[in-house]
Amino acid sequence: MFETALDLSLPGTEAPAAVAAADVTRRYGEGESAVEALRGVTLEVPSGQFTAVMGPSGSGKSTLMHVLAGLDSPTTGSVSIGGREITGMNDRELTLLRRREIGFVFQFFNLLPVLTAEENVLLPLSIAGRKPGKAFTDAVIERVGLSDRRSHRPAELSGGQQQRVAIARALVTEPTVLFADEPTGNLDSTTGAEILALLRDAVNAHGQTTLMVTHDARAAATADRVLSSPMAAWPETSSAPTRTRCST
């Protein structure tokens, strides 16, 4: 479970928060067997910064990310993205929100095997019915260093290359916030470092707001700010009824 004993919001910061959560609780199940993955979490992800959420497996950090990204809804509390309240949005509104405001990078890349690297990158635009210009497409692919791999299928790419495609796919819509869920979890350390550098670069060069969930301290070190679960540090003092494995 992920619990913030302290208020992690940043009062007084100039930049408006890209993502904000207020007193978010996520409970699974009911009654006796109910499990709380998040309890009273309040936080803000500042615009233009690289924020990492640290914690071991089962600490609820993935649940936190899913709730913040609108993939899961909080039991209580509220979440807003780019100043818009997303709690209570219906499926269609959430889908359009993900389409326009959010980019995802997953641990297992999740590319479509039937599409080429370039087509995978452009997939979100294609789904939204948008046709990017050639210059734009070239620039995005260039940015992740895959110019010579654009017509390859995922099966013909290495893990690192696949994750680059996934990052380009997340950046291509210029989202308000990019969520990365253990982006290096499935890569060796060298390749992982390259991927982290790419994410870092997106923040530095383009002011891409990024929230990364990781259990790897070295990965977290790339971020501007690290939020960590107190539960991770002092598991014995947990006041939650049960510590459970959640979805990570």
Partner: protein, 853 residues
């Protein structure tokens, strides 16, 4: 391992249900075919028993050759009434009565039109003869038997359908103009509930003789033996007293109600329905094969785990086969009983198409159960064999690897060669079966049946190669229409060509048969129109309302006398024997026929001995103009003829006219037929509404005949093509439905397999509607691949058959509109098949989909 197999079924419930449905439908069709035909057969048998039980012997005129009532337009000779006394004088004879039976005595309904669709039994009985009741099948339900010239007994079915009761006036068209009778009784045919499209009208004997123009003669004499005298003995005794022109037989052999024809017809229906059941089962086999193949592929890790913990290959094989066996057995059992219902449904389909058949109680024999079960289970297990063998090749190490694929076996690697070989063999079998001269019908069937089956298999095995390019082309419009959903659909269809191909192949079979019959139907239609347009020079044609009965000359004479009619001439038809085989003989009026029907000039010179002979027939028998030849009539008379001219009618002969034509005077001297096959009419001003009306008025007394303009007649000659196509489409629809289950199954399994992808697509902003569209487009692309392959195979088969009948003038004509309609139906079927899988795909929670195992 048994538990593993059964748990597998329980865990994959939807898939199992869909697979089972495919088998249920096929088996139901087979079981239904047996139920329906057994039921009809029992009906026919009880008709037979009811008709002939009390009759120990029948005396009728000896014929020169055997006649098939359904095929030959030959009228049997009669026997003199005086023979009855000689038969009665035989000591072994208990009762003997004269009988007149006719198949063209039509009862007119309340609407003024002929009721029923034949045979139209008309019979004269002598109620005064002692013990005659036992010789008749008729059992009075109400009233009494007819006596005197004004009374008739009609069958209960007609009475109920038309609302006729005792004392009502009913009109009957037999010979001459229609006549009114009073209904004196209503009877059933033994204890048979319905006699299908048949009707009967029973008169007293003198009335029937008068009505049917048979004064002083009988068609037959029915004999019951004295008590204690065997059938054989009475037959021998009667035979001894008969002149050479008469003979004695059993009632069944003599068959005055032509029930043998009915039984043959029922046999045809059975074969027809079983053939369609076989097609449905074949399509079902594809579905089973495909579903099990996909499941085995998806379960490869589970199977590998089983192998790791020590299961042998044999055990894996057994577990997959056992699953197929369990599904097959349960589904077949359900199918057998579903067939009971389907049999009833088929019977009403037949009825709605005018093929009402006699019915007794429903027959559900052990043979039905055994054969249907056996077919269902065997086919399921056979279809499961391939996937089961494939499952054994899962190596234990697969458990450690994600997405590992099962290596193809020896058979799999040789697939392209095997497919090509099978297809070539199929084409060879079909080519020989259809085109080789001098084969018997049975031999042709023996080559064509397996040939078609192999062709389906061969094309299905080749289709993985074709699926990718076809999906690419067919998917393009979908891509245009569906945006990214359409594009992904096209790619998904191309992604696993084997799977797409096997799914589409099931639909291919149904579509190819639909295309096959549509093309042949169009060919027949076009050939018919061409032939009739070329031959008929008349303005009007007079023919029977049912399209096949002969018409009374009285009606034609009335039409000829109408104002504005220049000439009206009928064609008579009978059968004879010449050169050791049966041949149709036409009787025409030499003075007028040439102006109304395309004929050689020599027809005008037809005299007592002259004949016009069809050119092909003449060539076969080495006849030239001026040659003489002899024909023997059914009654045994020999007729010497001289060839006056050769006739070259269009090769396609929709009117079924005979090969030999003589003058009507000659015809009348030698043949018993008086009715016309049809008649042609030329008018002064050509066809017009007023003239049509005038001619119709002339026929007012002949409700069984109708006058049509020549073009309307040509159209009506083709209406049977549409009915036949209708029956075929209904029957093949079942196979198409079975293949739809296959598409649903494949899509459900693909959606399951692509859970993670779908989750990602939803996460990056694909709406539920787009997900549904993607699945739907993939389904439509698959269905259209099936339609394309099916159209190709169907056109090939139709072309082959057309080539075989090109000597008979059958044209090859592609009904483009119909083919497009089939493609649209296939696409719609694809949409329908996608409903459930698309909904499942759209319902996926992106979060759940993204979670790792």
């Amino acid at each position: 391992m048994i538990r593993v197999a059964l748990r597998g079924i329980a865990a994959r419930r939807l898939r199992t249900v869909l697979t089972a449905l495919a088998i249920v439908l096929g088996v139901a069709m087979i079981s239904g075919a047996f139920v329906l035909s057994d039921t009809m057969r029992r009906g026919a048998d009880s008709l037979s028993t009811a008709s002939y039980r009390g009759t120990d012997a029948v005396v009728d005129a000896r014929t020169a050759f055997d006649v098939d009532a359904d095929e030959d337009a030959a009228t049997a000779p009669t026997i003199p009434a005086s023979l009855l006394e000689r038969v009665r004088a035989v000591p072994e004879v208990g009762t003997a009565v004269g009988d007149v039976t006719d198949l063209q005595t039509k009862i007119v309904g309340q609407d003024g039109k002929v009721t029923g669709d034949g045979p139209y039994f008309g019979e004269g009985i002598d109620p005064s003869a002692k013990g005659a009741g036992a010789l008749r099948p008729f059992r009075l339900e109400k009233g009494r038997f007819a006596s005197g010239g004004g009374e008739v007994v009609i069958d209960a079915g007609t009475a109920e359908r038309e609302g006729y009761g005792i004392g009502d006036r009913v009109e009957i068209a037999a010979r001459g103009p229609v006549r009114g009778f009073r209904v004196s009784g209503i009877a059933t045919f033994g204890d048979v509930k319905s006699i299908g499209t048949a009707t009967f009208a029973v008169f007293d004997l003198p009335t029937a003789q008068r009505l049917l123009h048979k004064p002083g003669v009988y068609d037959s004499i029915l004999v019951a033996a004295k008590q204690g005298v065997s059938k054989a003995r009475v037959r021998r005794a009667v035979a001894a007293t008969l002149p050479a022109s008469a003979r004695v037989q059993s009632a069944e052999a003599q068959d005055r109600y032509t029930l043998e024809g009915l039984k043959t017809f029922i046999g045809w229906i059975k074969a027809f329905l079983l053939a369609f059941g076989g097609v449905a089962v074949l399509v079902g086999a594809f579905t089973i094969f495909n579903t099990l193949s996909i499941t085995v592929a998806q379960r490869s890790r589970e199977l590998a785990l089983l192998r790791t913990v020590g299961s042998s290959r044999r055990q894996v094989l057994r577990s997959v086969l056992l699953e197929a066996l369990a599904v097959g057995a349960v589904a077949s059992a359900i199918g057998v009983f579903a067939g009971l219902g389907l049999g009833k449904g088929l019977s009403s389909v037949m009825a709605s198409l005018g093929l009402d058949l006699p019915e007794a109680g429903t027959v559900f024999g052990p043979r039905t159960v055994i054969v249907s079960l056996l077919v269902g289970v065997l086919v399921t297990v056979l279809a499961g064999l391939g996937p089961a063998l494939r499952a054994t090749r899962v190596s234990p190490v697969t458990v450690l690897r994600e997405g590992a694929e099962i290596p193809p076996g020896r058979f799999g690697r040789r697939l392209p060669q095997i497919a090509t070989g099978l297809t070539a063999l199929a084409v060879a079998l079909l080519g020989v079966g259809v085109l080789a001269p001098g084969l018997s019908g049975g031999a042709r069937g023996g080559l064509i049946g397996p040939g078609a089956l192999l062709l389906f298999l061969g094309v299905a095995m080749m289709s993985p190669r074709l699926a990718r390019p076809l999906a690419s082309v067919i998917g393009r419009p979908a891509e245009r229409l569906g945006g990214s959903a359409g594009r992904l659909a096209r790619r998904n269809a191309m992604r696993n060509p084997g799977r797409t191909a096997a799914t589409a192949s099931a639909l291919m079979i149904g579509i190819s048969l639909v295309v096959f019959v549509a093309v042949l139907g169009q060919g027949v239609r076009q050939s018919t129109t061409g032939a009739l347009e070329k031959s008929i020079k008349a303005d009007y044609v007079v023919a029977s309302t049912d399209g096949y009965s002969p018409i009374d000359p009285g009606g034609v004479r009335r039409v000829a006398g109408a104002p504005g009619v220049r000439s009206a001439t009928g064609i008579q038809q009978d059968g004879a024997r010449a050169f050791g085989e049966k041949v149709g003989v036409n009787g025409v009026d030499p003075a007028t026929i040439g102006r109304l029907y395309d004929s050689p000039a020599a027809i005008a010179r037809l005299d007592g001995r002259g004949a016009i002979v069809e050119r092909g027939y003449a060539k076969r028998h080495h006849l030239k103009v001026g040659d003489r030849f002899a024909i023997t009539t059914l009654g045994g008379g020999r007729l010497q003829l001289r060839v006056l001219g050769l006739d070259s009618p269009p090769k396609f002969n929709p009117l079924g006219l005979g090969k030999v034509t003589v003058s009507e005077a000659t015809f009348a001297r030698h043949f018993a037929t008086e009715r016309y096959r049809l008649a042609f009419v030329a008018t002064d001003g050509g066809a017009s509404g007023a003239t049509t009306h005038a001619l119709e008025r002339q026929l007012a007394g002949f409700p069984d005949a109708e006058v049509q303009t020549s073009s309307a007649f040509a159209d009506s000659q083709m209406s049977w093509v549409d009915s036949v196509l209708g029956i075929f489409y209904v029957m093949l629809a079942l196979s198409v439905i079975v293949s739809l289950f296959g598409i649903v199954n494949t899509l459900v399994l693909s959606v399951l397999e692509r859970t993670r992808e779908l989750g990602m697509l939803r996460a990056v902003g694909m709406t539920r509607r787009q997900v549904r569209r993607m699945v739907r487009h993939e389904s439509v692309v698959t269905a259209l691949i099936g339609a394309t392959l099916g159209t190709g195979v169907g056109l090939f088969l139709a072309g082959l058959v057309t080539a075989a009948f090109s000597d008979d003038g059958l044209a090859f004509s592609v009904p483009v509109g119909s083919l497009l309609a089939f493609a649209v139906v296939a696409a719609l079927a694809g949409v329908l098949a996608a409903v459930l899988p698309a909904r499942r795909a759209a319902r996926l929670d992106p979060l759940a989909a993204l979670q790792y195992e």
